[in-house]
Amino acid sequence: MSKCELAEMSTAKEQPGPSKPSGSAQEEKERDERMFECNICLDTAKDAVVSMCGHLFCWPCLYQWLETRPARQLCPVCKAAISKEKVIPLYGRGITKQEDPRNNVPPRPAGQRSEPEANAGFSGFGFGEGGFHMSFGIGAFPFGFFTSTFNFGETRPGAAPRGSPQFLEEQFLSKVFLWVALVFICWLVMA
């Protein structure tokens, strides 16, 4: 206890010292640096990733933690459920270093990047934004005519950009309809 009392006295002495402002500035700097420390190795995060609960880690550190307890994948800080797939890499402006080959760690998951939504309308057939459509059907001809003719104000949604999931889906759907049409025609011919 006596040692502690001494320690307390010495800290009490230091506090009102003249070097207080520089000390607090240094403290602030230290705090800033600590904000970017990995929660596992306590060093500045390398190959930084952030969990969905917002905690920062080195990717190799987090990977090793998840490998240590595959059955209990919890955030080391707040014990929220986490998974390897659901971490976000942080790309700063610094040089991206080569990964240490000794760490047999798979590459850090890539960020998910989605294209911004296309706003430009489809301007097909030179009719401009108005979208003039005509169709002639047999069946319920007059009604079909009305519904297809009086839709001047509406704009058709633009085609999905190439490579996006929506584009692939549309391609797939158009193939399906093509096959349905072919089967229908075959059936008509046979009948």
Binding site: E8, I40, L42, C61, T68, V77
Partner: protein, 205 residues
């Protein structure tokens, strides 16, 4: 891998020394060897508990796989507590087992142990005898824990009635600590403690 463990302990060590708990004398960490694999911890008995005024020394062994696995901690100072073995000092605390998380540090471990001293978990005991006393005779438990604190951890309380009972047994040639354990285990019933002590002596012979 051992490198990560040593690096981290070094950082933690620096941090814990600067922490306000150390300034308040609530916790303390010391190095035992240069390789940072073994440390000595110390926690102060929390106020308003039978452990108040005592200083409890801990053995901390840092595994190669730290911080992915918890440090191995046990009490060196003898203590009367439901979740700590009165014989070996082994601790039953979830964060030192399956509830460990890699972001925990020496500081948080020591503070958790201090919290364990204020809030025992008698339903998840390490020492069944102590836990039974804690549940069935809380006042007796408090007295015993206070007595152990004063004898082994430098606590302030002097309990002459308990000391007298121990002296009665030591006068019969029984080692003091054994006498204390027997009396504590039998709720300070001198007859039953004596009986039990001589039974074990006879069994050994």
């Amino acid at each position: 891998m051992a490198n990560i463990a040593a690096q981290r302990i070094k950082r933690e060590f620096k941090e814990v020394i600067k922490s306000e708990e150390v300034a308040k004398c609530a916790i303390k960490v010391e190095l035992v060897n240069d390789s940072f694999t073994e440390l000595k911890g110390e926690i102060a008995g929390p106020p308003d508990t039978p452990y108040e005024g005592g200083n409890f020394v801990l053995e901390i062994k840092v595994p190669e796989t730290y911080p992915f696995n918890p440090p191995k901690v046990r009490f060196i100072t003898k203590i009367w507590h439901p979740n700590i073995s009165s014989v070996t000092g082994a601790i039953c605390l979830d964060i030192l087992k399956d509830q460990w998380a890699a972001a925990m540090t020496l500081r948080t471990v020591l503070l958790s142990l201090q919290a364990l001293l204020s809030a025992a978990e008698p339903d998840d005991p390490q020492d069944a005898v102590v836990a039974k006393q804690y549940k069935e005779q809380p006042e007796m438990f408090r007295q015993t824990a206070k007595h152990w604190t004063s004898v082994y951890a430098g606590g302030p309380a002097k309990m002459s009635d308990l000391d007298d009972k121990i002296r009665r047994l030591t006068d019969m040639g029984i080692e003091e600590h054994n006498a204390r354990v027997a009396l504590s285990s039998y709720n300070w019933d001198l007859e039953r403690a004596t009986e039990q002590l001589f039974m074990t002596v006879m069994a050994k012979n």
